[in-house]
Subunit: 406 residues, 3 copies
């Protein structure tokens, strides 16, 4: 054959339809097993993979998120420094209304500090001394407050500590303690959150549209009835996180407000609702009480008669971390086809199993085997031709030796 | 057969090559249908799944991101307190140059507050009174400024409100108002962003390498010509977010600068460019004007003659949230194989359809059916043996009864 | 046939088991090729896809993360303003212990600024002048410090600059410079991080449970021995980021501490460990030195005799960005099935290749071809009926013409 003929032949053959030859086994038992296996696989895919796991959806996690917070409420404290009124500008830190902020619940204030020399706090390891020899001039303890001058001085009564150059007097048991207790639990936190899934170009917020303007001034969050009213009493957050205010107001702590958006965008946008959960974050990783609680020190500086003074404040606070997490899914043809293809391939596993049953356990497995398998052996064909005097073409048609197990 | 023979037999069979027997239907119509279906499926996968959806790529979203911001510009305000110059240290809050910061555009200042007693603001619900009986001593309103002393005092003229213990005087209509108007629109914001995709170990920033040092001092962002110059006039951000400065300077607001990195890492790294978009975030979730705008209160404390004073400032600001979002894709063998497998399986759907046409609609469907299906029935085989006196082995070879529909 | 009979027939057929007819080619060479191809594909899937790539796992990236930081250490500086002790409240900014904070290493302080008029800094472009004509009253330079009054005044010696209305005196070469050098490298940073993968409901922190309470007070991070002790000396972070403290203390800079959680949740939870890496972030995107470094200005305000003063501080700091990144994988049936299906389909590619070898290169390819392919041609069947006088049904059984290439 020339190239042209070969091409013509192949071109003609290209338009033939090829379909696998199928052996039909009229065995009711096997048929039932086969169909039950198929049914189980189909059910599994339809119910679990497609309906429960929503494998037909393209998914996007980590949406763009913007959080705005605003607190309301007035607290009051009564200490040796007198009655103090705490408004939002006093107890919220930082004031800008971001996703992380702390609410001051207890303070240790050391006022009128200035750069000077004074005895080190007795709480600092290595600060106690009996003579100047114990205090190496210029040395600075990592956990201390300043640089040793080299002198050992009286802290109070008979206790002596190294003298240090520092912001003096240092924070010690004489520092003033103050706790906001009254009403701090009733403070409310307004959390405005809007998310955006860029792949699906879907934006939503946790405040409902078309609500009466006064709604947000009076409502309180409730998971059942007021899910679109993101105004949370502090007491609610503490309670849902499984904590007590009394405990937190002593040590401080970090509470996470987790906003979870789990959106099925094949449904209406109104079905995509925020879910709030609350968790204590500073305790998450430990059973021991090491470093439990939350506090930080900050200083307010001021000048008086040309000297710089500062008020050092150790703040025990309830820090609120607003953590936004989300996942959206929407029908997409690519994962759908991948999963349907996986389903179809899996149905083939049913055939595989039934073939094995057919060829191994069935009464007449040799009969079935002979029907399913057709052997090709060069020697046999040649032998057959000699014996019967038939042409090779006829032999092919008759297929005399297709017994596999004989 | 003993175990050894069985094993030898199976071992020999293991090296046989098995291939499905195929029925070739020489029907041009069916062949064309079959090939067209195959072609459509292949085209769909090649064009949509592989070229458009880039299904051959492993994808990573949520890159590590670091944002540095720096503002430039001088504003000026003229109020009852006199002319005030606003430089960066005055209007940017917090000053550290993070991804979220606010630009003060309007302030309501209440200076010289100290802990004292004074009449409550008339704007607070429940503050107005006619006699001491209206003011319960010790009560604190959630939206109020302090704790009621129990007395009803004159606010101004004939208006009486409950006296409170608070930071006095409270913020009211006499507080000083100030607006930076001049030139605030011309402030520029420099945004440095670098991202890192850990899975692909790919790092990129929004500033081009090898640029002349002076470039960043003079350029202005332009999506077409200067995409690597991340210096944004505030007016540009406001305009692109569809807002007006006049409006924002009254109520404040939150503007999102969204930096989107959509990187095809199979291409050159220089093809991975940041895309900037701008959106107002505080209005996203609502049509009503409830809680639109952005403001917060903060206080500056100072001492004078041993008394602690504070200046309370209500800041209306334009808060800028830099939101970084990114997705990178790179060729990976696992998704490629999964998608090719899905494609091959899908091509099988063509066969399924053509088989159905073949067996249902074709003129000679019984002929085709007989060729495609080969029945195995125990009873028929036994019957055949009796009638023809042939051995079972021969029967298997001849396959006399493979008519499916008779 | 009526509808009932048709239905009965199809119902009976539904319970038949259908299995593809297979041609067994007893050719050792082809069998070996076939099995080797299968083996390679299976090995590839088992080793690469399943063991290395863990394709049987459902993956979740971007966990919820909460970071708490706390610094320890005392620094000291000695400048024209005298010796200054820097404690945590002085050098950490902002103090709240978030994931981003800066450590002051150098300051340029301009004290006693008040709103007034003074000569513009000579460093501002366009500030130098020779006469009042060079200074347009009311003009404000973007990079300047205030609004021009229209007068040209002496800056110092013979240098003249435009007079401006600003916070005066402006920051210039006379501002006081101060550097914390002593011991700043030995500051330690305690980083507490807890993550939560919501899909797997898995929470973990970077501090080990059940440790003795004193452990965290004395330990130092070490990747080998103390991976659960997240106390990092600043010097360690600087060194691991490939930087030098001397360099950073001049220009400031931003260092990223990247915590990477790569968790295989099929293993024990204790196997899910944090991995720390360190990188300089402000230099990531550039070779040039443009805008390298990190500094910001902030102001402390105070009142003296009714006049508002401020101290402007330009802070060069080492900003630490704690970036948390994580990915968790857990066995899930959906990706497992998809990948097994892809594997099975891929094994089919082996058949495809062997069929092609069989039909093209093998010695007796026409024999094999005849066995594999069975043609159906309407004309041939009719012809056959005429020649042999056989019934159509018998013909179907005998299948005389199944040679494809003859």
């Amino acid at each position: 054959m020339g190239y042209k003929e070969t091409f013509t032949l192949h071109w003609t053959e290209f338009w033939d339809y090829e379909t696998p030859k199928v052996v039909v086994v009229k065995n009711r038992t096997l048929g039932i097993i086969y169909r039950i296996i198929q049914l189980l696989i189909i059910l599994y895919f339809v119910i679990y993979v497609f309906i429960i796991q929503k494998a037909y959806q393209e998914r996007e996690s980590a949406p763009e998120s913007s959080v705005i917070t605003k607190m309301k409420g007035i607290g009051i404290s009564n200490s040796s420094m007198g009655i103090k009124i705490w408004d939002v500008a006093e107890y919220v830190n930082p004031p800008e209304g971001r996703d992380v902020f702390s609410i001051t619940v207890r303070t240790i204030t050391t006022p009128f500090q200035r750069l000077h020399t004074c005895p080190e706090s007795a709480n600092v390891p290595g600060s106690k001394c009996t003579s100047d020899l114990d205090c190496m001039a210029g040395e600075m303890e990592l956990l201390g407050n300043g640089r040793k001058t080299g002198r050992c001085v009286t802290h109070h009564d008979s206790l002596k500590t190294c003298e240090i150059q520092a912001w003096c007097p240092v924070e010690n048991e004489h520092s003033k303690r103050d706790s906001i207790l009254t009403r701090a639990q009733n403070f409310t936190i307004f959390i405005k959150n809007s998310i955006h899934f860029p792949r699906f170009e879907f934006t939503k917020g946790n405040i409902q549209k078309n609500r009466h303007q006064e709604y947000l001034k009076k409502c309180t969050f409730d998971e059942e009835t007021n899910v679109y009213c993101p105004i949370f009493p502090l007491s609610l957050i503490i309670e849902k996180a499984g904590q007590s205010f009394d405990n937190l107001s002593q040590t401080g702590g970090i509470l996470g407000v987790i906003i979870n958006w789990n959106c099925d965008l094949d449904k209406a946008a109104s079905e995509c609702k925020p879910h709030y959960s609350f968790r204590r974050l500073d305790a998450a990783s430990q059973d021991t009480k090491a470093s439990l609680g939350y506090n930080f020190r900050h200083a307010k500086h001021y000048m008086e008669n040309g000297t710089e003074y500062r008020t050092l404040i150790k703040v025990f606070g309830i820090r609120i971390d607003i953590i936004v997490h989300g996942e959206a899914g929407k029908f997409d043809i690519v994962p759908t086809i991948i999963n349907i293809a996986a389903a179809l391939t899996s149905i083939g596993i049913g055939s595989f199993l039934c073939d094995w049953i057919l060829l191994t356990f069935m009464n007449k497995n040799e009969v079935y085997s002979a029907k399913k398998f057709e052997e090709v052996l060069k020697e046999r064909i040649i032998l057959a031709v000699n014996e019967h005097g038939a042409s090779e073409q006829e032999l092919r048609a008759i297929q005399p030796e297709n017994c596999k197990h004989c």
